[in-house]
């Protein structure tokens, strides 16, 4: 079973790696941030997969922390853009 779990983990890593490599060549930082979020989810999945394979339950805590901090990174990225907010797309046009 452990081998199968490692194989699944390796597949998830490969998928995340493909996402990283392709998105990295993309034009915007938002795409890079999406790749980072994909990597975060992938890392959670991998940690969950290898925790039973390595019989190391503490890796579940690492998965918990990854979920928490990947979300924090998204918040920090948005905050670093500055305080301007885009107008709501369905807001009525203001008449002069």
């Amino acid at each position: 079973m452990a081998d199968l779990l490692f194989a699944a983990g390796a597949l998830v890593l490969l998928i995340c790696g493909a996402g990283l490599a392709a998105l990295w060549r993309g034009e915007g930082d938002i795409d890079r941030m999406l790749a980072f979020q994909l990597l975060g989810s992938g890392a959670i999945a991998v940690l969950l997969l290898i925790a039973p394979a390595m019989s190391e339950p503490a890796l579940l805590d690492a998965a918990l922390l990854t979920a928490l901090l990947a979300a924090l990174a998204a918040c920090a990225y948005r905050a670093a853009l500055g305080g301007r907010t885009p107008p709501a797309p369905d807001a009525p046009e203001r008449q002069p």
Binding site: F6, A10, D29, L47, A53, M54, D61, A70, A80
Partner: protein
């Protein structure tokens, strides 16, 4: 099969490091660096070092991400070529030096791991890392806490004289938009719970004061980013008490050891675990607050909200 996994993980770590180093713009480099932190956490997990994995995830992709994104926001979009060449030369030199050191290590590496494991039952703890940090090498931990405090003093010393009692600059300009504020409101309570859990679990399982403190600091920074909490004033008495609780709590426990166990930083026999736990709580609070204040930077004004 685990070998294939490890090879893949190693390649991805190297790839992320390369992406961080070769990125043209500062912000792209920072995002790559955060991804590198997550992957490095995986690598530590595979090296059977879950304590380090927890620290790497909390510090490497969490707090460093905030620090570096903030720094990148203040940099020109394309740094001067001379700086890049200099940075490349320095990092290549550091990498080569580290590689040489690793190759020069004796084989097998000198280790006190067996001694630590053998003496662990005397502390009443189940996690050897916590045992080493708070019982066997408590003096190192005490000095680390003092160094952390000195780092904060150094940061505060950068404040201009008339302003040094006030609040620091906000982390990022402008108010947080609604989605970010919502995310912070959901995440901060969960994160504080996770931080407290890591401290509690640290006695017998991977985790402990530093991992917990780093998680709590990340949540504190998130709350500040989203405007959920006011920026702390440097002259707040309670804040300073929390800053001092860790180092002085450990110091007090150390002197207590003279009275009860006959040596500095020895814990009273029979009560090792409760005393270590109480000291760890104080240390965690100090670490979390010190990290937050170091990231926020020097006080910059009286009237900042």
């Amino acid at each position: 099969m685990s070998l294939v996994f490890d090879a893949l993980a190693g390649l991805l770590v190297a790839g992320a490091a390369l992406a961080a180093v070769t990125a043209a713009a500062p912000r792209a480099a920072v995002i790559a660096f955060m991804g590198y932190g997550v992957l490095l956490g995986l690598a530590w997990a595979r090296l059977a070092a879950p304590d380090v994995a927890l620290t790497e995830i909390a510090i490497g992709s969490g707090i460093s991400g905030i620090v570096l994104l903030r720094a990148a926001a203040g940099l020109p979009a394309v740094p001067p070529a001379a700086n890049r060449a200099l940075a490349a030369a320095i990092s290549v030199a550091v990498a080569l030096g580290l590689a040489a050191l690793v190759l020069a290590l004796p084989e097998p590496a000198p280790s006190r791991a067996a001694d630590a494991a053998a003496a662990l039952p005397a502390t009443g703890l189940g996690n050897p890392v916590t045992g080493v940090l708070l019982a066997f090498r408590a003096l190192d931990t005490l000095l680390e806490k003092i160094v952390l405090l000195l780092a904060l003093v150094g940061v505060w010393a950068l404040a201009r004289d008339p302003l040094w009692r006030g609040r620091p600059e906000p982390l990022f300009a402008g108010a947080a938009p609604a989605p970010s504020a919502f995310l912070a409101r959901v995440l901060v309570p969960i994160g504080v719970l996770v931080g407290a859990y890591l401290l509690w679990a640290g006695a017998d399982a991977p985790g402990g004061a530093f991992q917990s403190g780093a998680t709590l600091a990340a949540m504190g920074l998130l709350a500040l980013m989203a405007g959920l909490a006011p920026l702390p004033r440097a002259d707040d008495r309670r804040l300073r008490l929390v800053l001092l609780a860790g180092p002085f709590g450990l110091l007090a426990a150390g002197f207590l050891g003279w009275a009860t166990a006959g040596a500095f930083l020895a814990f009273p026999p029979g009560f090792e675990k409760p005393v270590i736990k109480i000291v760890e709580i104080a240390i965690t609070a100090s670490i979390a607050l010190t990290l937050i204040l170091v990231v926020l930077g020097p006080p910059a004004g009286e009237e900042r909200p």
